[in-house]
Every structure is written in C-alpha cells, then in structure tokens.
Amino acid sequence: MTVFCTLAGGGAPAITALQLNAGAIAPESAVLVALLACLLVDLAGEEAASRWVPPICYGGLGTALVLLALQWNAPLEPSFLGSFLADNLAIAFRGVVAASTLLSLLISWRYVERSGTPVGEYAAILLAATLGAMFLCGATDLVSIFISLETLSVSSYLLSGYMKRDARSGEAALKYLLVGSAAAAVFLYGASLLYGLTGGETSLEAVGVALQTSATPVTALALVFVLATVAFKIAAVPFHQWTPDVYEGSPTPVVAFLSVGSKAAGFALALRLLVGCFESFDAQWKVLFTVLAVLSMTLGNVVALAQTSMKRMLAYSSIGQAGFVMIGLVCGTEDGYAAMVLYMAAYLFMNLGAFACIILFSLRTGSDRISDYAGLYQKDPLITLGLSLCLLSLGGIPPMLGFFGKIYLFFAGWADQQYLLVVVGLITSVVSIYYYISVIKMMVVKEPQEASDVVKAYPEISWSLTGMQPLRAALVGCVLVTAIGGILSNPLFTWANSAVAGTPMLQHAIAASESAVAALG
Amino acid sequence: MIDPAPALLTTAWPGLALVGPGLDLQSSFTSTLEEFGLSQAAAHLLWLPLPMLLVLVAAVVGVLVNVWLERKISAAVQQRIGPEYAGALGVLQPMADGLKLLFKEDVIPKRADGLLFTLGPVLVLVPVILSWLVVPFGQNLLISDVGIGVFLWIALSSIQPIGLLMSGYASNNKYSLLGGLRAAAQSISYEIPLALAVLAVVMMSNSLSTVDIVNQQSGAGILSWNIWRQPVGFLIFWICALAECERLPFDLPEAEEELVAGYQTEYAGMKFALFYLGSYINLVLSALLVAVLYLGGWGFPLPVEWLAGALGQSVDAPLVQVITGSLGIVMTVLKAYLLVFIAILLRWTLPRVRIDQLLDFGWKFLLPIALVNLLVTAGLKLAFPSFFGG
C-alpha cells in the first residue's frame, strides 16, 4: 500500500510513495477483527454471546499467534512511516501478550458467567487491552506509544472494575484509574520534553539522536519522567502501591492478564525507550534501575510473606518477579536481553498456571484465602498438583521452567558483574521459596481433620458446565509446559537468543557497550 | 479572560484584506489615514475597534427588531394586534422593555452565591457575542476571516453551558439547578449533530472559513446554494440550532409549567436582560449562520456578475462594488430574518417536547442521521467532485 500526498501551496514536507508496510500489523488486525466480531455477536443476546464469543476469541488470537510466527526473522522495514517496527523483540513480546490473553480468556469464561456480568463486552475489552499492549511492544514513536499505552490502561481500568456490584472491584478500578492517569500525565510531560529536545520530531530514532547532543538537566528530567511511567507499568517499587489493591479487587482472570500481558508490554516499552533512546544516558538509567530492581525484589518478596490472601500474595510475588526480570535489563548484554525474553515467556506459563488453579479453587469454594487451602490434597489432587508445580517453578526449584529462566538471568547478571543484583536476587529467591512452599505444605501435609471448613465442604468435582473445559485445558497446558519445559528448555533458549539477534536496536546497544568496555580495558 | 481574543485574532490575521473582489473598507480606511500622515500600525489600530463596535451595535439592533417581530408575529398568529402605542406599529416597544429592565432593581437572593450569580449571565452572553467575529456580510465585510471560521463558532458555543450551570447553581434554588442541568445537557446533546452537519458542509467547501463556504456557493445563484446539496444537513442544523437557542419546541430549561423559569428564575433587572439578550442574539446568529452555510450567505439569487454584465457594467467599478456590497448585506439580513420568522412561527405551532423525548431525539435520531449524512456527503464528493466540491 502506498500513500500519495500532495499539498497544495506547499509548507509541509511532501510525502510521496512511501511504504506503509501495513502487513506488519496483521496480527493486531486479527485481534481487532475478533474484537469487532465479539461486539456484533453480543448484540444477539447473552446466550448467543456465551456460545459464540469464545470461538471468535480463540480464532482471532490463534490467527494472531500464527501471523506472528510467520513474521519471525522477516526482513525488517519500518511500517506506518516509522510508527511501528516489527523486529524480533517486538514479535516475541507481542507473542507473550497474545498468549497471555488467550490463556486468560480460557480461564475467564466460567468466572465471568458465574458472576453474571456480560461476556461479550468482557472479551471485547480484554481484546482491546491486548491490542494496546501489542502495539506498545512495537511502537516506535512517542505518539503511538502514548496512544497504545492509553488503550491498554483504559481497558485495564474498565476490566478491574468489571465486577461492578462489588465495592472492592470499584475501589480497585478507581485506584488504578487515579494512579494510572497520574502516570500517564507524567509520561506526557516527559514526552513533551523529548519532543521539544528533538525540535518537533516524535520518532524514537530522532529522540535518540537529539539526546546525544542535548543539555543534561532537561534530559535527566525527561529520563526520570519516562522511567516513572515504565516503572508504574511493570509495578516496580516504589511505583507499586497500586498493585496489591488492584490485584485483590479485580476479577482474578483480569489479574492474570495484568500480571503477565500488561507487564510484558511494559518491559518491551522499557527496552524500546531506555535501550533505544537513552543510550547516551546508559549509566544513569542503569543505576536507577538497579535501585528499582533491588527494592522490588526485596519488598515484593518480603511483604508477600505476610499475606493471607492468595491474590494479594501473588501480587507481591509479581512485584518481586519483575525485579528479577530487571536484572536482565540492567545487564545490557546479549545474554541479559535473551534472559529477559526467556523469563517473560516462562513467567507467562507458570503464573497463568497458578492463576488457573486459584480461579478453579475460588469457583468451587468462593474463597481465595491461603488458610482455606489447608488439606486440599485430599479433595482435589489436580489443583494441588498444578498449584504446587507452578509455585515451585515461580520460586525457581530446579527441574521446573522457572529455574532455568532464573538461572539464566543470574548467570547473565554475574557475567556482567552485577554482583549486588545477583546476590539480592538469590537471597530474595530463597525468601520467595519459603512462602511458596508454605502454601504447598498447607495443601499437602495437613491431616484430613485439620483441613479448613471450606475444604471440608468441598463440592463434587464436575467439569460439565460450559467454560470449565477451557479452564481445565489451560490449567493442564500451563502446568505441563511449566513442568516439562524445564527439561526441554533448549528450543526456548535458542528462541530467546534469536529474538535478541534479530533486533537491530539491541544489537546496536550491545555493540556500543562492548566497544565502550574495550575502550576502558 | 477571553476578551483579548478578538483583538488578538485581528492582530494575527488582519482580515482577508486583499484577496478577491468586492468592497474592502479596511484598506480604503487605512490608506486614507496613511495619507493624513499616520503610520500603518496606528491606522490599523484605529481601524480595529470600528468593525467590532459596528457588529455589536448591529447585534443589539438585530435583537430589538427580533423582539418586535416576536411580539407582532405572535400577536398575528393568535389574532391579536400586539404592541401598537409605543411608536408606529409599536416599534419602540422593545426599547421600552429594555429600559424597564435596565431600571429594575437588581436582586441577588440572600442565600445565593453572589459572585457566580453575577458571572453566570456574563458567561452566557460573551461567547455569543464573540461568535459574531466570523459572520460575513460580504467578501470583506466581517471582523476577521479566521481560518477556522465555523469551528470557532462551534467551540465558543460550547462555553455557554458553563454559564448556564453556573447561574443554575448559584441561584440556590432547585428549579434553577434543574434548569441549568437541563440546559447544559440539551446543549451538549445537540452540539454533536450540529457539528456533524457543519462538517458535511465544510467537507464540500474544503475550508472552515465562512467566506470560503459562501464563495463556494456563489457559482450559479440560487441553484448553487448548499440547501440543495445538503437538504438533510440543513434540517439537522436548523433543528439543532433551535435546540441550542432553547427556542420552543425545545425550551425545556425554562419550561414554565415544570420549572417556573429554569435557571432564570431568580434573576431580575439587568442580569435577566443579559440572558434575554443572549438568547435573542444567539437566535439571530444561528439564523445568520444557516444563511451562510446553506443559503448562499450574501449571494443574490441571481449571480451579481450576470446582472452587472447584463447592464453592461464592470464588476470592479466602484459604484457597482458599493451596490453589490449593500445588496450582500441586505441579502444576508433578509435570509436571516426569514429564518427568524420561521422560528417564531414554529414557536406558536409546535408543542414543547418532554426531556426524555428531547434527549432520545438528539442521540438516537439526529446523531445517526447526521453521521449517515456525513458519510453520504463524503461518498458523493468522491463520486461527483464537480457538484460536491473537489
């Protein structure tokens, strides 16, 4: 597709015959089509919606994933006149986002129907959030970044308040909205400073060039503002205050999406902005991120110890997990970036597997308190096994997928001499293993008479209701990948490495830092 | 707060002074002054307030005429005589009304919020008067040919609800508050179809400027007026304009039977007069804009070039210019007052709608129709560029 623009009278740069290269957003288009189809089907009533919306969503997201796979290692061309770039990094993160939505949807149907809220709109809003997150992964100019960030955020606010008759859900939405809007405003301030520094350009490339020659104070300010937004999106301490309340009040499948999809998009944004733009301020932002990472790992994992609610515990644990991923970001080496991608992919499966288990448990018991899980092994071995495997993987116990992800991160950090980060990471990992294991101990070891009231009154296990089968499929799938993926993790390593190798931006940054090291040595 | 705007606009863009044929009072005025030895800037400065004052006076006189017409036509509809003692045919009656309001005691209720109570009517009136900036009476006969023309009017008219809410709230009276809320809801709801109808016209003339919009309708006299190309848009615009002016059948905000007098309940004296003035100026303004957007503005039903050619005169001759300029003003005013006449007739022929009917009509009928109209216009413009603006 080509755009021919002629401007009578001149005054604007004439844009002639530039390639739009719209094929790069084909996966997003599939999601968009699914979104519109959901809205249309929803017009036919709730019954029709609950029958047709799930297949439409599977179709759209499946097509998106296939199209993403086809884009892998494709020749790189900026699309939409420099608004979007489908490099391998973007494809990897978009894949993580799309997969997290697919899994979140699989575990949502029963939850949403049980709560009596409309299914069609739920799916549509979640798909819109996915759309925003996917565009965020590949956006390469400030305006596109802002709009996709807002699409993701606004949909997330709506989703977290989706259980509208529940005061907790409303509170979560309001808190998220207020804090998120403040973060968006801060981002806009930072972006406007960057826009001013470039002299009227919004593409990240121009921003990067302008930053190399501009005065320090104003760029430092822009850096801090932009960094605050990124930190808000990935819920790094001290920008994490919204997380526990929002996670506790939001519908659980939404939390599953927020903790993986939204966070993956945040990390993609961090890479694009910090590595791509603030290259000349490498040392500064790395120091800041080191602080953020240490704080996140420490506070996230320590506070998680004291939680009584499963959702809240996972919220704090996700803050800690984000801290681990930041180690890869701070390294700035090929291994560091690859470890980030790998860990996000691993986190996708283990975290969503854990969420599938707790959704299933709350569907059957209406509770998410950790003490209510006591003695569950007697009544529901599937949940016990699945949750145990996923939590062990999150804690980084050897044969699981999470172990390899974490060890790769620590290895990359050690190789880059980030000793502080690695040591803090190791210690907090041990702390995290403590609270993960205590849940498992609660489920497995208790004698039958010590089981909680909820478990004593556990209902008959039945998978017959519509929406239970997808939940089971997602649960089993995630647990399988988490358990077996660790042993067969070699393809994942090669995949993560080729994601970094196929991204010119990262290669450029790696080469620059290596030459800097060589010059020093 | 927004008072600097007119001065500013004219400083930034000193009119479309030198483009196109027709009467150009500004350049002749400034060149005359420069001949007397004044600097160009000083001459310009002397020129600036003149069109503003002129238009302000024209607006107020327009209101007086309007009030008289309203009384006389209402009387005729109801088979009465109407005012007849104050001046011939009662033409001085509006003046008497105005004087009465001027001398009335200016009451501020004890529990009302004095500051907001005073500021409300001002905020209602000022944007309406500011909108006269963009009303053209001829090729160069307007205060300022701002590039954003009609868009400025739409933007300014969106300030009005703030004033209405303010006076409704400040009166400390539930009828006033309800009236203010109703007024704001109504004006927001009808602004959207209105803007969409304008957008269709703008799309055809490729410009937001009122002068360009009129010029685009000037090819073949009455046949090239936009009303033939935008019949639906014309109806939407007219209905929405009536609703924005709170004219019957859409005068819910001051529906006497329900709300005493809505947000005006507590007002008396000059503050009430400001509301009164605002609503009539707004009516004349809307009528003028309908004339500009759909009825060819200052254009005569037969193109003046043809007439001049038939009489063997050049269009650029000074005398012909003066005649065509005056004809333009007369035509604009004539068209506007024809529409005002229709509005007054409508007032006495249609019953008032209910608030839910009003909102349903705006959102569920006018808005979709306006969207379809926009879409069809875009399609027709692509299909027949010569008829619908290339």
């Binding site: 623009c5 604007a12 844009i15 739009l20 979104l35 809205l39 609950s50 006149l81 608004s83 129907e113 049980r114 709560s115 009596g116 809220t117 409309p118 709109e121 549509a124 809003i125 819109a128 759309l131 565009f135 100019d141 305006v143 807002e150 699409t151 606004v154 949909s155 709506l158 509208k164 008759r165 529940d166 907790r168 859900s169 002299g199 005065a215 104003v218 709350s362 209406g366 308190r369 209701l465 | 707060m1 600097p4 705007a5 500013l8 400083t11 863009w13 800037a41 907001l116 590039g147 868009f151 400025l152 739409i154 933007a155 969106s158 300030i159 703030i162 709230y169 203010g180 809320l181 927001i188």
Partner: protein, 208 residues
Amino acid sequence: MTIASVTQLICFVALSLTLVLGALGVVLLPNIVYSAFLLAGVFLSVAGLYLLLNASFVAAAQVLVYVGAVNVLILFAIMLVNKKEAMAEIPGLLLRRVLSGAVCLGLFLLLLRVDLTTPWAVPGPTPLGEDATTLIGIHLFSDYLLPFELASVLLLMAMIGAIVLARRDVYSSDVITGEAADQGLIEKERTPLLLESPPRDTTLLEKV
C-alpha cells in the same frame, strides 16, 4: 517595539496570570464547585495561549473538548452529587499539607532550574497560521495514521466500557446455569476469622 508585539506581551501576561492563579485556585480552594469553574478558566487561558502561538485550530479544539465537554461533565458530576456533608477529620492534615507542599515546591524549583539552564532554541519554527489545520490533517493521515486509527479503538472501548459499568441491569444471572448472580467477585468478602462463628444477621432476621 511595535503595537502588535506590545499587545501580544500584554495578552501573554494576562493569560499567564489567569492560568497560574486559576490553577492554584483549583487546587487550593475548599469549595469544589469553585474549583471546577476555575478549571474552566484555566482551560480557556490555555486556549488563549495557543491563540498567541498562532495555533487557532488547537485553541478552538481545546475550548470545544476541555471547556465544552470535560469541564461540563465534571460540573455535572459535582452538581448531581452535591451533598454538603461533614468530612471526617483527617489525622495529621497539616503535616500532610506541609509535606506535599514541600514536594511540589521542590519539583517547581527543579523545573525552574532546568528551564533556566537549558539553551532553548529560540525563536522556534515559524508559525504556519492558517495552513496549520491542513497540516494537522495531512499528519493524521500519513505519519500519525497508526495512532489515529488506534485512538478510534481506544474511544470505542472507553465508550462501551463506560456504558457497561454505568448500565443498571434489572436482573443478572449466570447464563449457563440460570442461577441468580450478584455481579461481584467470586471470592466473597468474609468477616475476620475471630468473628466468623456467630452469624451476624440473626438479630436482623429476628426483627424481620
């Protein structure tokens, strides 16, 4: 100094003063209605500043969107729930105010320093005046096409979401089983452990 530049300077000073004082008023005034009305004033003075920069389209859009839509909506919300109720005393209010004031002051000083030390490229690009509207259109359909289209998805979703959340469902039920549902979280809120054993509603039930 020409007359035009003096006019501009006066306008700038007047607008900036309104802007700053209005913004302070929005934040500091105890009466929320005054804050909301002042916000309209702030928006209008921002529009005035845009006019000074020869960006008339942006100015009109600012008035239309912020004053005509956003501010009116805020006022609606305030007036529909305008209950005068005594707020509970917030402990340590003075300390909180002093702290947030100090943070704001620090940020202000930082910005001031940045503003004064940065070599700004003045004068900037020449204003386009009337051509700006056309140029905005061209940008929207060329290099900003993607964000422009994405914004439509954003607005559509925001609208649908707002309707879903605000809609008053007459009844709600589980579509699959037909059981009544409460549109709340599945994880029910429960009383703390110690209070759990005696059912709380017995007194109420007895009364009924």
